[in-house]
Symmetry: C2
Subunit: 222 residues, 2 copies
């Protein structure tokens, strides 16, 4: 009974997600869903990414239980930002994203970044209509997270290891991450970077730009 309810919730979500994707496709906007634990550095990565993608224009939908802090931080770099407060909700839903899209002017946009609620479990189950899913994990979280939270990393099109400037400061065996990923996702690139020092940002930006070129070839390069 409980499982049936969950299934029907997911089914309804996926139908809305398909509509979101159609709207984004029609507008030529590439949507990337960023998912991670709280404090892995999603917002800071966007603060560095969006200016570097100029003159391409970026919109952001940012999910948090409460506060508009992330939207305030991103307001100075992105063309349009909408904060979605989920209350007690542990992930964004396709319906919340659809409502967010209603409030954005998609025409003329090139990228939509969706910053999900900080959570390594629930967001992975909900298609939002994005084109690409990115899972972040940070060095201070420890090198065992891929093995312990596999659903997030299985579902990812790219995996970003953040805060690599702390590799010398903290005990962290990078090799464990590579080994654990080799068992569950060999398709997604693992991109290592530090938003703070700039190390590795170029590889990330190249990946982002390539995704847009593939999906929206008529509107690229870029």
């Amino acid at each position: 009974m409980k499982i049936k309810v969950v299934e029907s919730v997911l089914k309804a979500n996926d139908a809305v997600a398909r509509e979101n994707r159609k709207r984004l496709d029609a507008a030529g906007v590439l949507a990337i869903n960023l998912m991670s634990a709280p404090g892995s550095g999603k917002t800071l990565l966007l603060e560095k990414t969006i200016p570097a993608l100029a003159p391409r224009r970026c919109a952001v939908l940012v999910g948090d239980l409460q506060t508009t802090r992330d939207a305030e931080r991103l307001g100075s770099v992105a063309t349009q930002v909408t904060q979605i407060n989920t209350g007690t909700g542990c992930h964004l839903t396709a319906t919340q994203v659809a409502e967010g899209l209603d409030g954005l002017e998609l025409e003329g946009m090139d990228y939509l970044f969706v910053e999900n609620v900080g959570n390594m479990v629930c967001p992975a189950a909900f298609d939002l209509g994005e084109h690409r899913r990115v899972a972040l994990l940070s060095v201070p979280e420890g090198d065992d997270k891929v093995a312990k939270y596999p659903t997030l990393f299985q579902a990812a099109d790219a995996i970003v290891l953040t805060k690599v400037d702390l590799l010398g400061v903290l005990d962290y065996e990078r090799q464990r991450v590579y080994e654990d990923l080799s068992r569950i996702n060999t398709r997604a690139p693992l991109l290592e970077l530090s938003s703070k020092t700039g190390q590795g940002l170029e590889g990330w930006l190249t990946w982002v730009q390539q995704q847009r070129q593939r999906l929206c070839p008529s509107r690229s390069p870029g």
Copy 2:
């Protein structure tokens, strides 16, 4: 309809939680539920705490989606450890804890530590039958987490700021945490510590021991 289902799930959970608490009370075992984002240092804190509480005896129930890594780490320090794998579940439930209790010998135990699934949202909604709830947050997660994930910190009997050895390395305004807490929870102590350097561990151990003295006065000091 969806809300009703959630309510009845929570109601059923709470009934099992009450039974768990009765079993723990009858055995004179103080149960502490540790909740935080992934990688905040729950397991390492227990690795330091349990030996320091000797000769008091500790059992641990540890929740993760997959792997028995945390149970393996804790097996060398705790008298009894059981790993609960939740599959895709983003929190422990009272029923999972009840099954965990079935497998433990409670007689002669003094403390039960429950290490919840790493998640700052869902665990806060589920009473497991614990006596005390501890919310951890780590310095590398950033100083905005209390404001952004208030439900976890509202529900906590103690709040532990971990990895304070990184305060000099990372940008972190401790004052923001105090200000955010002053709005949602003025009752719980905020304990700052580093499991790595040992700084602040004594304050944490004192708090843990005091909780047991209050709840199980006939069996203490300890």
